[in-house]
Amino acid sequence: MNIIVCVKQTPDTAATLAVVDGKASWGNAPLVLNPWDEYAVEQALVTKEAEGGQVTALCLGPETAEEALKQALAMGCDEAVLIQDPAFESADSLVASRVLAAAIKKLESVDLAFFGKAAVDTDLGVTGPQVARRLGWPSLNLVAAISELDATAKTITVERLLEEGRQVVSGPLPAVVSVVKEINEPRYPSFMGIRKASKAEIPRWSAADIGLDGEIHPALTWPEILVPEKGGDEVEFIEGGDPAEIAGKLADRLIEEKVI
């Protein structure tokens, strides 16, 4: 099977965020492979191990994002491509989905493209479905399990984790599969994997390479980034002689403040 996994680089989730010169800043916090995408990489690898074939990791991002692709290679991906062009710098989801769809088309005869649930920086959670729509492939979003994959008949059955339960859906390949964390437990890169990845030459693709020269127009602009206002008040500790007294006081305060 020819398998793609789309990965993004994001600041570590433990980073403290601030606004510096009108831009988001995460200080010295490390940049990592988007945590949700670890599950996508793992699922791509598990699928390859079961069905044979190869896994290519794709990333649209700045030069630093090479590290995220190296992480994907270290986990076991066979190839990686960094898509980079000044034209893509202020990409919104409209542009990102267009770029990723064009890159997937260029790779030809792809069977499955895996995505994470969302990028933890922009919190959009739409890129997988948008790429699927552009390619005209089934969008299997929020997948918590792949219950059947038939490489010969070219069909897939999955369980999608919706608010109300798991929706069981099947469709033809090629398909876009966006995964949630229930689907697997991502592996750690092996020592060998890390060594291989550190030596890997990661090719760069420009807008022209994927046939998108001169026709990229984001829809969105971002006039301002803000730090949310703090919850305001200091914590009010409720004290008392015994649990019943404390609980009684807390209940009274909640009722007084019209919280309940």
């Binding site: 919190d123 959670g125 019943a244 909640l254």
Partner: protein
């Protein structure tokens, strides 16, 4: 015109849809326009009617066997046709798993921008300046779609008020005819449909963390000999107390990732960066330290109460009310006190 997509499941509208409709009505009033609610499904005429009760100017209904269950490619094709026929200035969705995906596809079909999960907005003429959380709510970003139309947005659950149900619904339900291609996916049904109050819609959430397993006084039944199993059993006694408090408050039960990873409670209850993002009126955190990834999922709660043994736990920095104590003492006492005071004891 403003189109509002009404999400539903099992014959009932998702309550957040009405909040979204309320946003549509406010916008319509401000820009001198009207709202049309769109309902796609099978046997969903009552939902279209309800949209009128909630103030929609008109309800566009496509009631077809092919909409029996949500399939994104089918719903997107239908919605794109409806939007093209109506040429709205704005299309709004509630932020649910289904609608977020649908909004993304609509934006692709119409080659326009999408702002998912907005929590606030201002108007600049007819241009929406939307505010949405990024970096798991650690920052807010203002976002504008100046260049393309329609403006497509999804509104976060409970970030906007539910409109009053009006007595005099003036609008009418209009049935729309659509010509759709063959669907490519097939839905086979649902597994483990969740009961109870869903986290996203809950006005009150009571959550438990690793602290639920910390009650050495509890003696597990003799047949549970495995240490890990004993820990889970203890935690489940803690979650039982949390469940009882939730019951008195009509609340949903949440959990930290530590509690989920340790097998105390299913993932569907997890709140946080890699779980659900919630904005209830009241969030009661019991035995949760307040790691940044947990706060990412609940920091927008209106009032936070923390119950924790450790007065230095970071959760107290965000909390409005705090109790330094053992959840095994405080939670049942609070259940009792609230039961009495709220007349449910």
């Amino acid at each position: 015109m403003i189109i509002v997509y009404i999400d539903h499941f099992d014959g009932r509208a998702i309550p957040a849809s009405w909040e979204t409709l309320g946003v549509g009505e406010s916008l319509a009033e401000a820009i001198g326009s009207d709202t049309k609610a769109v309902v796609l499904g099978t046997g969903v005429e009552a939902i279209a009617q309800e949209a009128l009760d909630f103030g929609a100017g008109e309800a566009l209904l496509a009631d077809e066997p092919m909409f029996e269950d949500f399939r994104p490619e089918v719903y997107a094709e239908a919605l794109t046709q409806i939007v093209k026929d109506n040429d709205p200035e704005i299309v709004l969705f509630p932020t649910t798993s289904r609608s977020r995906e649908l909004a993304g596809m609509l934006a692709v079909d119409l080659d326009t921008g999408l702002s998912p999960d907005i929590v606030d907005y201002e108007l600049d003429g007819t241009v929406i300046v939307a505010t949405r959380p990024i970096y798991a709510g650690k920052l807010l970003i203002k976002e504008i779609n100046q260049a393309k139309r329609p403006q497509v947005l999804t509104t976060r659950s409970r970030a906007f008020p539910t409109p009053e149900k009006g007595a005099a619904a003036a609008g009418a339900v209009t049935r729309v005819e659509l010509e759709l291609g063959e669907p490519v996916t097939e839905v086979h049904g649902y597994k483990e449909s969740a009961g109870g109050v869903t986290l996203a819609d809950a006005a009150v959430i009571v959550s438990g963390g690793r602290g639920t397993s910390n009650n050495p006084a509890l003696e597990p039944p003799a047949e549970i000999t495995d240490e890990k199993e004993q820990e889970i059993w203890r935690a489940q006694q803690g979650f039982k107390l949390i469940g009882e408090l939730a019951m008195v408050l009509g609340a949903a039960v949440g959990a930290s990732r530590a509690a989920v990873d340790a097998g105390y409670i299913p993932y569907s209850n997890q709140v946080g960066q890699t779980g659900k993002v919630v904005s209830p009126d009241l969030y009661i955190a019991c035995g949760i330290s307040g790691a940044i990834q947990h706060l990412a999922g609940m920091r927008t709660a209106k009032t936070i109460v923390a119950i924790n043994k450790d007065s230095d736990a970071p959760i107290f920095k965000l909390a409005r009310f705090g109790v330094v104590g053992d959840l095994y003492d405080i939670v049942p006492a609070l259940t009792e006190a609230l039961g009495e005071k709220l007349g449910k004891g």
